[in-house]
Structures are given as structure tokens and as C-alpha cells.
Symmetry: C2
Subunit: 206 residues, 2 copies
DNA sequence: GTCTATAACGGGATAGAC
DNA sequence: GTCTATCCCGTTATAGAC
């Protein structure tokens, strides 16, 4: 009876599969590679998950959930607007740093796979975030900031935070950066992005 | 002798292949699909391009070039900074509208294919764009704008412009948009993005 | 649960006729 | 140049022993 120290083969497979899927995408990931790196046989993948497709769907759904929890949790906190923006940008960046390939993975798989994940999970979860919207509206009504569509607002932040990671090879090549330079570049961005959003909302000299 | 009205089979193949590669990526695009949609046989692909790999490389290189010409041409024009920003954002958005899948295609293929395209073409082309950099520096020296690293500046614009297209399905779902709504949303962004960049650069009340 | 062996299939590439 | 037929490999999935 073979018994790995911590037992669970199923999790080992899923863990490896997740890493490979995220790095390479669905098509480029071969079941053989997953099995090999997990130290088991292909037959086991099918024993636990029935098919490559099913295994992928499970992982994709988990990834989307993981990605969402990064975002949503912060948005509903009770904080003054400027503080919230700064905290959100900073946490968002840190979260992506933990799993830098996740964004591009989700976006590229989303494009030609008509997964039901989006309607089932993504949209409901995101729409639960109404606090920020109300905050923008009331601050604008009070004349403290300029009025702004909250979707535009959110998309600006999401863009500026995640794009450098999505386009990391290009960013690094153009700026002639090494890994350390890139980290510093991203660190600087925390302030820049928050300042920029805040400048736009509050700037008087238009 | 079969002669199509406009002759060139080779171009027909390349055209179809380009569309499919851009829509689906390298791995998910099958030579059989290309041949079928081009109305020819697989043997012809290899006759003209030797292999799927070679065909792809050619198309990928062309796509990168196409993408770059969108960007670089505007950046070197002699225009006042604010005008240049507004024109750049607007033209960039229009260019992406012509080929909305191109950005995600280039970025996702870039990630796990160690193509030589980037070092050979991308970097030299982008680095030819020094005008904007100098402009930012001299305006800052004159006290007209706040000092800002030009890579950060460029990346902010590129992010906010291209991200909504990369994440189009998500953007549309969250905002409950149809195609027309999305177009309007993007149209609004032209002003928002330019205003935001300009507000950041010139805002006094920090 | 885990393995070996093998079935079943799909996909890229080529030979050779026209 | 363009086709048909075919090869051959890699990949997914399953049967069946342990």
C-alpha cells in the first residue's frame, strides 16, 4: 500500500494541473505532463476527474472564484473614498503578485470557451458590490468629486493594475528591466494609480 | 486550370489562418480548419508555408508589426502635449476597434512562446519613440506638469485603452451591455482617459 | 487506489497522380 | 498548383490485473 506522507493524491493532481493550465492554457497542457509532474499515471486523472475537460472546468471555476475574492472583499469595506482607493489598489497589486499568471489565464480562456462560469459566478459576485457605487454617487452629489460612471471608474483601476502583469514580457523589454526593476516599477505604480484616480476625481482646474 | 477571380490562393490561406489564429490562438487552431475555411486542401498549406509552425510565425510577426504601427506613428508627431495625448488615445482606440482580438492574441502568444519577434522588432520600434519622453521632460522642467516616468505614463494609457477589449466579455456582462452599449462605453472612454492623464499631470491641489 | 497495456482518435505532414 | 490517399505520431481515454 503506497501512502504518500500527506495522503491526498487527488489534491496533488489538481495542484499540478492548476499550475500547468494557468501557465500554458488548456490546449497546450497535456494530460501526460500533468500525470508525470504529479508523479502518477494518466489513468488516475480519469479515475478522479473523468476527463481532461472536467478537470479543467473545475480548476477554471476555482480560479475565477479566487480572482474575485481578491477584488470584492475590499470594495465593500466601510472606508472614506480616498482611503478605499489607495487600499484597493495596493491590495489588488499584492494579490496579483501572488499569482501573476492568473489574470491572463482567465481572460484568454474566457474568450473562446463559452463557459457558464461567468453568468453563474462572476456577474452575481461583482454586482454584490454596491458600496463603492453609492459612495461615488453621494460624494458627487455633495460636490466633493466630479460625477463619474462607476463602471468606468472600476475599469480604469483594474486596467492599470493588471495590464503590466499581462504584458510583463513587453513591459520589461521596453524598459530594459530585470525582475528587481520590474518589482520596483510595480511598487511605484501603487502610488501613481491611486494619485491619478484621485486627481481626476478632485481636480478643479479643468 | 482552376483560377479564382482574384487569383491568389496563398493570400486566401494566410488571411483565413490569421483570422483563426487571432481568434483561437496557436494550439486551438487546427490546420484542417484553416484549409476547410479557405476552401482548399491541407496539402496546400504545407506547399506554401512548409508547416503550421512557419505559417504561424509569419502571421505572428505581421500582427506584431501591425500593432506597433498603430502606436508608434502618432507618438513621434510634433504636437503640443495635451493635443498629442487626446489624439493618441483616440487613434489607439479606433485602431483596436479595427482588430479587437489582436491585443489579447499577441499578449497570450507572447507568454509561453519564446519568439524572437520581441527582441528583433518590438523593442527597437518602440524605442524609436523618444519624442514623447523629451516632451514630458521639458514640460516638467518648465513647471507646466508634474514630473513623471515616461514608461509609467505610456503604460497607463496602453492599459486603460486596451484592457476593456481584452476583458470585453467580462466588461459587457458586469455592465449588462449589448454591443451598442459597449461601443458607447468605449467612446466615452476616449475623453475620460485623456482627461485623467491630463488631470494627473497638471492638477495642483495635491 | 494505482498500475500496465492498449484501444481509439485526431492532427500534422508527405507521396504521388493529375 | 491542386488534389486524394495515406502515413505516423502524440494524445486522451478505458479495460483489466493487482
Amino acid at each position: 500500500m503506497k501512502e504518500k506522507e500527506n495522503g491526498d493524491t487527488e489534491n496533488k493532481i489538481k495542484e499540478v494541473a492548476k499550475r500547468l493550465f494557468i501557465e500554458r492554457g488548456f490546449e497546450a497542457t497535456k494530460t501526460r505532463d500533468i500525470a508525470k509532474e504529479a508523479g502518477v499515471n494518466i489513468a488516475l486523472l480519469n479515475y478522479y476527474f473523468r476527463s481532461k475537460e472536467k478537470l479543467f472546468e473545475k480548476i477554471f471555476e476555482e480560479s475565477v472564484n479566487q480572482y474575485l475574492h481578491i477584488l470584492v472583499s475590499i470594495l465593500n469595506e466601510e472606508l472614506p473614498l480616498e482611503t478605499k482607493i489607495r487600499k484597493f489598489v495596493s491590495n489588488y497589486i499584492e494579490a496579483i503578485r501572488q499569482e501573476p499568471h492568473l489574470t491572463l489565464f482567465v481572460l484568454s480562456e474566457m474568450r473562446y470557451r463559452k463557459s457558464t462560469v461567468m453568468e453563474r459566478i462572476f456577474v452575481p459576485e461583482i454586482k454584490s458590490t454596491q458600496t463603492l457605487k453609492q459612495q461615488l454617487e453621494s460624494e458627487a452629489a455633495a460636490g466633493n468629486i466630479r460625477p463619474m460612471n462607476h463602471h468606468q471608474f472600476e475599469l480604469c483601476i483594474a486596467s492599470m493594475v493588471s495590464f503590466p502583469f499581462i504584458a510583463k514580457p513587453i513591459t520589461m523589454a521596453i524598459g530594459e528591466m530585470n525582475e528587481l526593476d520590474f518589482d520596483r516599477f510595480i511598487e511605484d505604480r501603487k502610488t501613481i494609480i491611486a494619485d491619478m484616480m484621485w486627481a481626476y476625481l478632485t481636480c478643479k482646474n479643468q
